[in-house]
Every structure is written in C-alpha cells, then in structure tokens.
Chain length 267, copies 2
Amino acid sequence: MEISRIDDPLDPRVSAFRDIRERDLTGRQGLFVAEGEVVLRVLASPHALCRPRSVLLAENRVAGLAEVLESLPDDVPVHVAGQGVLDSVAGFHLHRGILALGEKPPAQPLEALLAAMGDDAVVVLACGIGNHDNMGGIFRNAAAFGAGAVLLDAQCCDPFYRKAIRVSVGAVLRTPMATGLEAMAAVSGLKAAGFRGLAMTPSAGVTLDQAPRGGRVAIVLGAEGPGLPDSLIAACEPVGIRMSGGFDSLNVATAGAIALHHFARGA
Amino acid sequence: MEISRIDDPLDPRVSAFRDIRERDLTGRQGLFVAEGEVVLRVLASPHALCRPRSVLLAENRVAGLAEVLESLPDDVPVHVAGQGVLDSVAGFHLHRGILALGEKPPAQPLEALLAAMGDDAVVVLACGIGNHDNMGGIFRNAAAFGAGAVLLDAQCCDPFYRKAIRVSVGAVLRTPMATGLEAMAAVSGLKAAGFRGLAMTPSAGVTLDQAPRGGRVAIVLGAEGPGLPDSLIAACEPVGIRMSGGFDSLNVATAGAIALHHFARGA
C-alpha cells in the first residue's frame, strides 16, 4: 500500500473527489464516491461487488484505519490530506474525513441474475423510488435479510448516490442488482424464472401474515405517495400490511423490511 | 377564521416563525414549529394532542387549504405572505410554504398514561435516540400500528424538532407520550402496570417469531450503534430479529416497525 500526501486541492490525483456535491447530481460514468468508515470497510472487504479505485483520507484518520487500508488491493492509491485541503477538495466540510472512489459493477441482465439463485430466494423489485434515503434503506434491509438481489426500474434514483450508499451502510456495494428495468417486463421475467411477484400495497385484501413463505419470492415496492400502478398490482399478488385505522401508511423501506422479515427470515 | 396579510418580515405577529433553523437548536419553551401540508392537517384534526397557536402560509397555498384552515379553532390566526417575505421570516427558502406554531402537550406522568390503556396494549420505550429521522420514524411506525404511547428517556432528542415531526408525518402531534424518563425506572413502571418489557437486541437468544403476542407489551429500543445497555436488557426479556449472517443490523426505527408489526397487528 502506498500513501501519498496531497497539499494542493487542485492536485490531479484527487480530481475525482473535487466538488462532490455538484457531481452527485450529474452522475459520473460508471464511478461513484462513497464516504465514511463503514462504507470504506465494505468496499475493502471480499463481499464488495465494486472495485475501489482510490481513497482520500484526513490525516488524523490514517492510524485508525491501517488494517482496512492494508486490505485494499495493492494498486489502489491512498491519498492523505490535512482537513483544510480535504474540505477544499470536497467543496464542503467533510467531518467524516473519509472518501473512496469506486467503480460501479458491470450491468447484470435480469435473467442471469435470477438464474444464479436458489430455490428459496427472495428479491426486491423497487419501482419509482425517488428518495435516496429510501433507496439506501431498501438496500440495507435487503442485505439484513439476505435478499438475493435488488432490482430497480428505470424510474428509480441512482443507488450509487453518496447519501444512498451511506444510508445503506454499504449494502449498495455488496448486493447483486439489476437497474434501469421496465417494471412490467421485470415482473414477467421474474415469473418466467419461477418467482411469485408480491405487490406490497395498502389496499390488498390479503395481508402479509396470510401470505405463504418459501420458494422464489419477489417483493415489489412502489414509490411513497402514489404507490404501485394498478397495472403492476394486477400482474402480481397484492399483499398488504395490517395497520391501525386512521393512519396513512408506512415508509416504503419500512414496509419492505416487514415483508423481508416475513419472507426471508433466516435465508 | 381570520386571515391577515404580512408584508414585513419583522412583523411581530410572525416573530415566532423567525429564523427557524437557529431556534430549532435552542428549544422554545413548550412551543414547536411544524411544516408542510400533511402536518398541518394533523394539527387541525380532532386527533391532534397539541393545540395549534398560529399558521403562516405562502399566498399561493391558501386556496388549496381552505377546508383545513376552516377546521382550525377560531382563535388561531392565519397569516399569509408572499414567498419572498415568507423566506425572509423563516431564514431559508421554504418551498413547502406552510408553517404552523403549536403548543407541546402537557407532560403526562407515566403511571397515568399506562393506566388509561387496555389489556391488549403495545407501547414503545425508546432510549438514547439522538437522530431526528429515527425519532420521526419511531412515531410514524407507532401510529401505523396503533401503539398506545411512545415513551422517551431523557437521552432522546426532542420529538417536536421540525424534522422529526415531518418524518413522523404528524404522528408526533397525535401520539400519547411521556418524555424525559429514566429508562430503568420506566421499565419498572411498565412492569408494575403489567407490561412485559421486550428489549430489542441483536444478541438475544429468542427471536421475534418465538415471542408470544397479546397482553400488555412494551417494545424497548436503544440507540443505533451502542444499542441498549446491558443493565436494561437484563431487566427485560431480550428479543432479536432473525437476520442474515454477515450484515450488521437494522435501523432502529425499522427494527421497531418489525416488532410493532409482530405485537400490535390490528390493534
């Protein structure tokens, strides 16, 4: 492992970390920037499905991370800077003091992803999730319950957005996924692969505790507010979560967690 | 209902809404400021446990809210301002265009709160929750599953903080609560009132699906990261949520939702 010191915020070796917030919004051609120790640990672990490309740390973080840094591949440069230089590079005060640049995993065709799963597998299909907190939460919960994959339709926000990665506590970097799907085609593909499509919707006549476990299951989640479109619900088995009268509904990531707990326990 | 127009950001009639962000951090002696339409609707509804004191709206929001404004008590003044004046009052761009000032409910002694509940009641006792998103999520979930109350120890952040109210979709304003509790004393009080104290902790030998339902149940949640202190776990029945190996844990509000779904379904 080679540690190089950065004293100039304009140093080209850290140009990928420059003005992160603005870049977050524009996307970055197959790369992402993640922050924080937990996320760095995931990225450096054998579970990661993304390659780390470089790391930028505040100098006071190096000693505590020696073991993590050692576990990075040899060709991943580690840059260290004073807090002031780090803040200048990032474009804001980076109190976590840890940034990592990584490569998004190669796109996976849905069929290949599903073919690799066992007979008792649970996946999440998320449609139209526009909020990065919810996206991160969906990945965190999928990982907590051992879901085989998270599938995202083309209307979902980018799971590799910095905040989504952070909220997922790194699960975005270690969970098999397919993105940019057309939701109805994804449901067809899931059915063809033997998955039951369970559309989570408050209006369903069947509640979760009545839905049998086992086999291949896809939990289908729609955007907060509008929920899933009727056509998609009709193509699936609608399932609801029994709630108290008079209150609107659960957060979509929370509803997904309750469904995952039901279908994926001990997977 | 009387609508008055505000043209001067320094108008004393809206002084309570001035520089909200700074005030959020300092507290406000029994008052709170909430934002957004959903929250205003809760505050104006018969379910609210807090009295609204005044409302400040962007002028373009008035027509769409006529019916909600009519349902406010007659002595609650409604102030209307142009977006520019509104932003100057608030101290930032208030794109939701809706602010309400309310009174926190009077403090409830734990014993009185518990005595008012039925034989099959579920409450949440939250200890050391420092994050306002998590606080809001705990209240949202408690309301969704009809929990009888949310109890907070003295180490919890303020549930009436603007963001916590918003994330709770108003549940903070309509859920019976006791705050500032000493956690161990609260567990004793719960037991004395016939509640089983179920400490949610990943290390528990018993999982949720093995925990019997029914009767009076208190779901005890600790802070993300450290979790519940050992002494508190020892004073309760420890219960875990079965998860997949290799991943750390669930968000505390999410864990609470899964426990509420188990214990409070259809309550």
